[in-house]
Symmetry: C2
Subunit: 654 residues, 2 copies
């Protein structure tokens, strides 16, 4: 006889949250939003749990109404979404075991990465080479069979052919290659495909296969940002990018900026958790880049790409992200004298890092310059023209969650970092999101006061990405809807003026027009965050130039990178005071240079050597210890700046 | 309410056999000996399951009489053993879940390995160096703290000190070292112990620890024989052997010789099973070498040695054993044209091979010369004086399960193999056993026809090891108890003549005097096996010399190795025709040269280089394709030989 469980209010049930795969044990009857928060997940609401803002939207993956949960309808939840299993956490009670997905943290696809759509513009010829010559290579050999007279071992016969084919002298076969050797030299009449690592006289044999079952070797370029992670799958024989996928860094649940991650790492088990989260994000993204991709080799049947085919990974990320990827405690980065455990790393093995690619794959992490200027910047410089010229001076501005700046040319480079915040990547902004499907990427205000916008992939809008936020801020300023402090002018905004729990806001789009069926609003609080971010970047630029005895007008070119999206409106960037008021043709938006730099290292060992060389000679300037920084920063907290004379072309418009 | 299970005769129970850790599901009521056999384990009996020979002795590890099994007393089982939980499998019925240990396959300790007790005799000065200079080393450094002025990363500061301490130029830190780095440079005021691999300008950092918690680095030398495996734990800073342990190769359950192992490997799952068995044996032996060993460092508290402290392994084994250790199919070794997959291997990582030592430890396998002359021989040559002289010609005879021979000197070396069988290691002989505690190692027959013997560790005898078997055979021959074909003369043997199921035998010791409480008997069948083994070795020696145009008397010195034991009686070896009838001082018994050679490679990188060099120039002679081999062999199947004139000094005695 099956025992019927009594409906005991003390009954404990399990709730599982995807994509983090975090589970919590809670009492039946617990509010779902409370359960989310008790699990440490950052699901926000602005209505205070009334079921009216719709921001605590989750999708039921496993569980059913009446059994696992009880909820009620809400004006903030369209019937279309409700039909797809979406519920609002704040008005849902957990009554049984339940699995829900937090859609704001799901992996998000992008069609392409702006970095790979560079113009042929002379000014944006890159410092790094785009010629394909990676440190891993694949050769096809004909290994003759042994005979009673020539009874060399399989390995010796392979080595003889490898020597002929490559000109290298010595080969070290890794364990997996040794295990596959006997079959590989026999199954396809001795036609063997060997994957080699190294460029000099000594090479490692990473993999061996009968030629007929071998496809082209692949690699991944991976940009590990504090907020977003991007992965490109690359055919290493052609250099072609097969696919690029971006997602939110799952570490976000442990805090939005680097400092909060470092703090989290010092909790018991925190470091291992952060490492697991970043590796989990990367592995999910790798899976998505592979998904559905087929390889066609000459004379071979089509087959999918598998993790085993990925034999090299090039990783760029800030210093803290690199430490967390390895599971190395980053605490000393923020303790005086602020030294990282490492700046430059040897090649690592994918198996050491638990990456879901060939376990023998080598992993190269772009070198850091210091605690707050990491491999994202050194790799990124390859994707700028800065290192080509030794006369002109240019400036590189990477406006990520951590902002990093470089000024100089081929002969000298100075660099510094500032804490910009994730606003331009869509973090800390109510309607913000990464530059993926559904993001509003361009905004303009018409004469009549209406908003016109362009959405990535022409989808229904889900939010606004960095480039859209820059546009929005500039258009609201110039259109007279906000003042220079970012306060919304209620009268001018008219019907678009809304009052929310967390303050005044400007309605970007009505609920019925959006993907999630809820209003897109930018609040004064969001505008303040955006102003702080642009102010941090601008004042750091200004100060770095002072350190080297220069002013903005002495800088011949500005290369802007970051998570803004496919494009960035330079005019609008100047209007809000993110960039200085100079001739517009000095500015070049390059997109995700960290990813492009990782890609360039991936496909060319020359590029890797170049990064190793110039990164050693970069001079790191510590802005935190600079007394004038606070003044500079405070002056930047207006639109475009406290001192309007710094922005003469904007002054005329206001 | 607990449900009482009915005594259903179809009830299935589980029996687990140690030390193999093999389990079988059998019906309750099954005979235990049948269960052992159905699990594929080689437990022999000679009474046909009557409970009278006592050979199917097992020890109950988990289970109780009346519950898990039912058995009955036997004359072949002393009450002392019965009191310790020993039972006879053939008269035991399984009635419940049961775990038994097969004592004949348990890991057996030996006090010391003969190889390490070499005399100071001029003739036995070794080819290899005994100076300590391994390829791994440990340095203690003082890494200064970072300051705001000198804010180098932890890794850079470490590298600077490593460069100063070693003179090497470049260091590649492995993943585990990187993860431990931050703590290592801070916990003991910057006093760091670094373990390095490599001897040239580039070194790998295998391990890092705060100096106060670091002990000396250790290595293991491992001889993987077809029948027995020996492991020595070695302090790599002093070269001292901490402990040596020997055990039966668990692969024995898959067949006694190389050919049967190769066949077993081609069964489904067979290769993986063989690999698991050899790795399991080695790991158990490593555990036993570590067990109870303490390290005392200068100014440090005592602590045990752990697997993590073992950072280097030197392995010697025949070609098939090396293939099976890696999990590489050895099938091509016995298919024309008889080529192994590899002869020489690169350094492997312990983690690749699943060895229970530091995962970053490097594993070096001594190079093979061909399919049947392996690393046991090349390593073994280091432990002979053969490579010192370029005038005199000497011969190296390794009489293992596979017999290997080398003739030559520093300038030239010819080698061949023959299938000797495991008789001298105690295999295929009813009373045989490895040279460990309880083995009769010396035997003589007194005037009155009584046997006198010496037991290893002065214990009660359990069996007879190789050196004892050689003595026994020679003494029985010269004493007139057996004829030249090995037939026992019943009249001469008198009371010692026994008739067993498998034929006539000679009683070595009565049951009540032995450890297992059962008779030690050598049968005519055993004698035939011993004659075949010595005949195979002798005829191969003879033929190899013919191939190079020499005769026995032109050979200045003979170096004999094998699993005989601590000692080998040369006179008796000649009496049985294992060795030629020459001046006795030409012969030198060296013990386990494979293990000693592995040890010499372990402690000295010069020795490793020497092996790499000379092994390339060894000429491999294939005896199997030699038509005169069969004649030579057949002629050797008498004691000492068909042609008594070859043994003039023995002829006089018969």
């Amino acid at each position: 006889m099956t025992k019927r469980e009594p409906q005991n209010p003390e009954r404990v049930v399990s709730v599982r949250f995807m994509p983090f795969d975090v589970s919590a044990r809670v009492r039946a009857g617990t509010n779902l939003l409370e359960a989310v928060r008790s699990a440490g997940l950052p699901l926000k609401t602005s209505c205070g749990g009334e079921g009216s803002c719709g921001e605590c939207l989750v999708q039921v993956v496993n569980g059913r109404a009446g059994g696992s949960y009880e909820t009620r309808p809400s004006v903030a939840l369209s019937s279309e979404l409700a039909g797809k299993g979406y519920i609002l956490a704040c008005i849902t009670t957990i009554t049984g075991d339940l699995t829900v997905d937090l859609p704001h943290f799901e992996e998000l696809y992008i069609r392409s990465v702006a970095a790979f759509t560079l113009s042929d513009d002379e000014a944006t010829t890159l410092s790094g080479s785009t010629e394909v010559g990676p440190v891993v290579s694949r050769v096809e050999l004909q290994v003759p069979p042994a005979t009673l007279e020539d009874n060399y071992s399989d390995l010796t016969r392979l080595e003889i052919e490898l020597r002929k084919a490559t000109g290298a002298e010595r080969f070290t076969a890794g364990y997996p290659a040794l295990v596959r050797l006997a079959a590989a030299v026999r199954q396809d009449n001795g036609r063997v495909s060997a994957t080699l690592f190294g460029a000099g006289p000594v090479r490692d044999v990473l993999d061996l296969r009968p030629a007929r079952s071998a496809g082209p070797i692949h690699g991944i370029a991976c940009d590990i940002g504090t907020t977003t992670i991007a992965v490109s799958l690359v055919n290493l024989e052609t250099g072609d990018v097969v696919n690029t996928v971006m997602g939110l860094n799952r570490q976000l649940k442990c805090g939005e900026d680097i400092i909060s991650r470092i703090n989290y790492a010092s909790r018991p088990g925190g470091l291992a958790e952060l490492r697991g989260l970043v590796v989990g994000t990367i592995n999910t993204l790798i899976g998505k880049t592979i998904d559905g991709q087929a390889v066609r080799g000459p004379g071979r049947s089509d087959r999918g790409i598998s993790g085993e085919d990925i034999i090299y990974a090039s990783v760029s990320g800030n210093t803290t992200m690199a430490h967390l990827l390895l599971g190395v405690d980053p605490r000393y980065i923020r303790e005086e004298p602020y030294v990282p455990t490492f700046n430059r790393l040897p090649y690592l093995r994918a198996a050491d890092l638990d990456l879901a690619i060939n376990p023998e794959a080598r992993v190269y992490c772009a070198p850091a310059v210091g605690s707050y200027v990491g491999g994202d910047i050194t790799a990124g410089l390859l994707a700028t023209p800065m290192l080509i010229d030794s006369e002109r001076v240019s400036m590189f501005i990477d406006a990520g969650t951590n902002g990093e700046l470089v000024v100089g040319n081929r002969d000298w480079l100075m660099t510094c970092a500032c804490s910009a915040g994730p606003a331009f990547e869509g973090g800390g902004v109510r309607c913000g999101m990464p530059a993926t499907t559904g993001a509003i990427e361009r905004v303009s205000v018409t004469e009549g006061g209406d908003l016109e916008y362009k959405v990535i992939d022409d989808a229904k809008p889900r939010g606004v990405c960095g480039s859209g936020l820059v546009d929005l801020l500039a258009e609201l300023l110039v259109g007279g809807y906000i003042d220079r402090q970012g306060k919304i002018k209620a009268e001018a905004a008219g019907e678009r003026f809304v009052e929310l729990e967390d303050g005044a806001g400007f309605l970007v789009e009505r609920a019925e027009m959006t993907h999630w069926g809820r209003e897109l609003v930018i609040t004064e609080r969001d505008i303040t965050n955006l102003i702080r971010t642009k102010g941090a970047v601008f004042s750091a630029c200004s100060l770095l130039l002072k350190q080297v005895g220069l002013t903005f007008d002495k800088v011949d070119a500005f290369y802007i990178a970051g998570g803004f999206g496919h494009y960035l409106n330079i005019e609008n960037s100047i209007r809000i005071g993110l960039l200085p008021d100079l001739e517009r043709d000095r500015f070049h938006y390059l997109g995700n240079t960290s990813l492009l730099g990782a890609y360039m290292i991936l496909i060319s060992d020359e590029n890797r050597k170049m990064v190793e060389d110039f990164s050693k000679n970069m001079t790191y300037v510590e802005l935190n210890t600079e007394p004038s920084y606070m003044n500079e920063y405070t002056g930047s907290l207006f639109l475009p700046h406290t001192d309007l004379d710094l922005f003469p072309s904007i002054k005329k418009l206001l």
